[in-house]
């Protein structure tokens, strides 16, 4: 994600291993704090970003060893945008119908599989986007103040 020089931004790369998503959460949270986002929004961002990174590790990179995840983050006025890119070993677009907890409790659906639902509920924009270099790119964005309809 190329950004004009005047827009604050960070990029980081981390090993595609479960647990390292915490590093991304902490780094992006520090960035969001630095550009003035409130703590409640930062908590939403941390949880959403963690879920997106886990999807990239488990699905896009299929937990293959030796790969990395790229995270870029840019702040434009009221909007913070984060992109999470994997190597695309598996095409992953996350298209599935969210399963209610009742089905999980009755053993009719896997217990996992809530990440995308949580992301959508926590941030203001979320979805997969085109990648010029291959791989899956998931973009999420949030505003300093939640749009009224999302509160």
């Amino acid at each position: 994600m190329s950004t004009p020089a005047q827009q604050p931004s960070i990029e980081l790369y981390f090993p595609s291993e479960l647990g390292y998503e915490k590093v991304a959460r902490d780094a992006v949270a520090a960035f969001a704090r630095r550009v003035g986002f409130e703590q409640e929004r930062i908590e939403d961002l941390k949880t959403a970003l963690g879920e997106a990174c886990i999807n990239a590790i488990e699905h896009g990179n299929a937990q293959a060893p030796g790969l990395r995840i790229a995270v870029s983050c840019v702040c434009e006025d009221e909007r913070l945008t984060v992109e999470i890119q994997d190597d695309g070993l598996k095409h992953y677009n996350g298209h599935h119908v969210p399963v209610p907890i009742e089905s999980k409790l009755r053993g009719l659906a896997p217990l996992r599989g809530m990440g995308l639902m949580m992301i959508s509920a926590l941030v203001d924009e979320a979805g997969f986007t085109d990648s010029p270099t291959g791989g899956n790119v998931f973009r999420l964005a949030l505003y300093r103040r939640r749009p009224v309809a999302a509160q």
Binding site: E17, L18, G19, Y20, E21, K22, R25, E40, E43, D44, T47, G50, E51, I54, P100, I101, E102, K104, L105, G107, P110, L111, R112, G113, M114, G115, M117, M118, A121
Partner: protein, 120 residues
């Protein structure tokens, strides 16, 4: 390095089996949480409190583990509550529907009182 950051311990207070969870609740927590639940259940616990503390990170995999615990609690006719969650994670629990099946208390004292009131 990154996978073992949850401390789980068990104690009893006024007829409530308390499982203290300190640290991250992620996929790596499954064995510890399920083992603690199995231990209090084998000891006859009917009222169980998951007491969260200093939990900066609970992800969807951790929530899936808790849904699994709720399944067992329902099967074993037990009562489950949680305490010590931050406002953010209380919101997450409501978001995923867990709050329909688990009573959420601000802290351990409130939870123990809540269990006693429900039993009265």
């Amino acid at each position: 390095m990154l996978e073992d950051e949850l401390s789980v311990s068990i104690r009893e207070r006024e007829g409530v089996a308390i499982i203290d969870l300190i640290g991250d609740v992620t996929t790596f927590a499954e064995e510890k949480i399920n083992s603690a639940y199995a231990q209090v259940t084998s000891g006859g616990a009917k009222r169980i409190l998951l007491n969260f503390r200093q939990n900066d990170y609970i992800n969807s995999a951790g929530i899936a583990i808790l849904i699994g615990v709720v399944t067992e609690v329902n099967r074993n006719n037990q009562k489950l509550a949680v305490s010590g969650l931050s406002q953010h994670f209380q919101k997450i629990f409501r978001m995923v529907g867990l709050a329909q099946y688990i009573d959420i208390y601000q802290d351990e004292d409130e939870a123990v009182k809540g269990f006693a009131t429900a039993a009265a």
